[in-house]
Symmetry: C2
Subunit: 408 residues, 2 copies
Amino acid sequence: MYYSKLFGKTNKSKPADADSANARLLLQGGFVSQMAAGLYTYLPLGLRVLDKIKQIVREEMNAIDGQEISIPMLSPKEPWVATGRWDTIDVLFKLEGAGNKEYALQCTAEDLITPLVKEQTTSYKDFPLTLYQIQDKFRNEPRAKSGLLRGREFSMKDLYSFHLDQEGFAEYYERSKEAYLKVYRRCGLDAMVVKASGGDFTERFSHEFQVATEAGEDTVYVDKQTGEAYNKEIVDEVDLENTEKYTITKAIEVGNIFPLETRFSKAIGLQVQGADGQMKEVIMGSYGIGPSRVMGSIVEIHHDEAGIIWPESVAPFYAHIVPVNWEDESQKSVAEQLYLALQAKGVEVLLDDRVKRPGEKFADADLLGMPYRITVGRRAVEGFVELRPRKTGEIEELTVTEVIARLS
Amino acid sequence: MYYSKLFGKTNKSKPADADSANARLLLQGGFVSQMAAGLYTYLPLGLRVLDKIKQIVREEMNAIDGQEISIPMLSPKEPWVATGRWDTIDVLFKLEGAGNKEYALQCTAEDLITPLVKEQTTSYKDFPLTLYQIQDKFRNEPRAKSGLLRGREFSMKDLYSFHLDQEGFAEYYERSKEAYLKVYRRCGLDAMVVKASGGDFTERFSHEFQVATEAGEDTVYVDKQTGEAYNKEIVDEVDLENTEKYTITKAIEVGNIFPLETRFSKAIGLQVQGADGQMKEVIMGSYGIGPSRVMGSIVEIHHDEAGIIWPESVAPFYAHIVPVNWEDESQKSVAEQLYLALQAKGVEVLLDDRVKRPGEKFADADLLGMPYRITVGRRAVEGFVELRPRKTGEIEELTVTEVIARLS
């Protein structure tokens, strides 16, 4: 992509109302635009990141037998009434349509997927079953904040598992933890599994995936002896100040998994006759990762004073070619040669074809945060360019051929 | 995919309330499930089709310089008020959130994208500009009907182009027609370009893409002499019964493109200083294709008494292996060998691993409509299987090696 053609440019002034590093850097870099509080438009650069995260999530959910479906985001009132949640989910957006029909916008989907599974299954042979969707969810948040971390509309992967026995559920639940940790690793995030309250559904714990950072809203207590991590909300009151026992750290929640027991299958009457002829209630789990929240978290973790430092797996482009002087014929020609050669090797490349001061172009490259900057300067005429990893900033002079070999 | 593991099975009984071939066959085949009137869940088979159509659309929009973005589906009231459409779009879903904030759900996005382009552009050098998104749209339809053809939530690709001169606009508009026709060809649809009213925005025509079928809601008049096609709505009243002059045909609209002139740029104040120093209002066009509507239309066009006949480009799987007797060891072994060999060659394969009567399995294969059925029967033990294209039904006996070579 030629940068001059790209929709969404860097902005020299810091956005006034950005309350977090991710909001500030993503707005400033032209990755997103804010339409209203908690509502962000993904510009081409930002959408490339989001799509890569979604694809990583999709691959790991497929690897644990997830089958992808898509339930309408606009849903009728009835299933939410059937589970008793029409009036209890306070962030549920409700609306009315033609013929006085009432609807809700999905903020989660247990209420919708349980009747679907009831409709589409006939035998114990249909279980265990794992379904997921990746689409936007909506929360009627009183206070949207922190950029992509707490929005009114946001991307969500929600997976639901259905089992006929506790052992099968427990085994799948552990498998999902591994899959989740793999997602985070692939996205450049070092997440810990943290015990949290199971809420109204179960006496067991639920589990959160938390990434340690001062920017986090949550507080995680890590038991120094056992290494077990707990969300502050479930730590004994007497222990709350016990820095002997716990390491206390701020963190961002980037996912959570819940044992649902039979809370929804009971409400909907999702039962199935087992091989033994007995009717069984179906045991469920739900498993959520928000790709947009993951994107915001990546920026919180991977940035410095100058801008974002994208992990290679989710970077919008892998290489950023910066000709120092676009009006210099040999620099332009070497830059374009590199651009075509790298693309031919399947490398995603951004080329800064603007006539601007080098300092401004370098600052933009740092802000945008592609893993490798290739600087094409005076020595281009002799066939030399500079390779600079965003992460280390260490510049290496290489021939054009060497750079191509290194990056492809 | 092993069919026994697939979520969403064929249904022997025809859905009672299906008012169209696409609704009936997609429900019966387990491609979709109906949550409420006009609201369909995509089950794994259906989502595979929808995603393939979206990808074809994406590739062709990228080929005409489209840059993909994603504007929140939930949008604040203000931009709709600014264009004067908050009260004039009768199918706009409206809702209220925390703090008495009012929102609308996107049914189209001129009102949202024009302010975005105003925010993100600074110079005539930023134009021409072409942006699109692929996401669900919402219409508060009094009467949802015809399966995927008229829903309350549906998939939509909406592209918008921005130009500083009429010539540039006109040229792009013609390019978009070619891109649209390419999308339909790739999806197995033979679409015609049909002149229609430009509505309130322009004195020019807009253009629809129509696929001739008795199942269509629209009526297209094709001038026998010139070959020009017109939507009935713009044909002179005196000509309406003139079968000498026109061939009259029923058709489904599968896309439309609109010259918007300066209707939205004026309302939003999207102006830019030209190279000549003069301020110019930006000329816009909008271009829509509904992937879900295309999917419904494909089924309307490509089916027979027995079921769907998917074009190869959008079929959920390319080959459907049907072992006549899954309990026969040699049939099972040949079927699994084929399954693995084809997948290794990158062919998408469905394997019917159910213990069912052959007649029932063949009927399901016809209903599901994959391009090739591979029947593994008695001669499997000698290394022979049958290849049967869904379209022709002509059975050919081949060796396993020959089938693999033929399909990969």
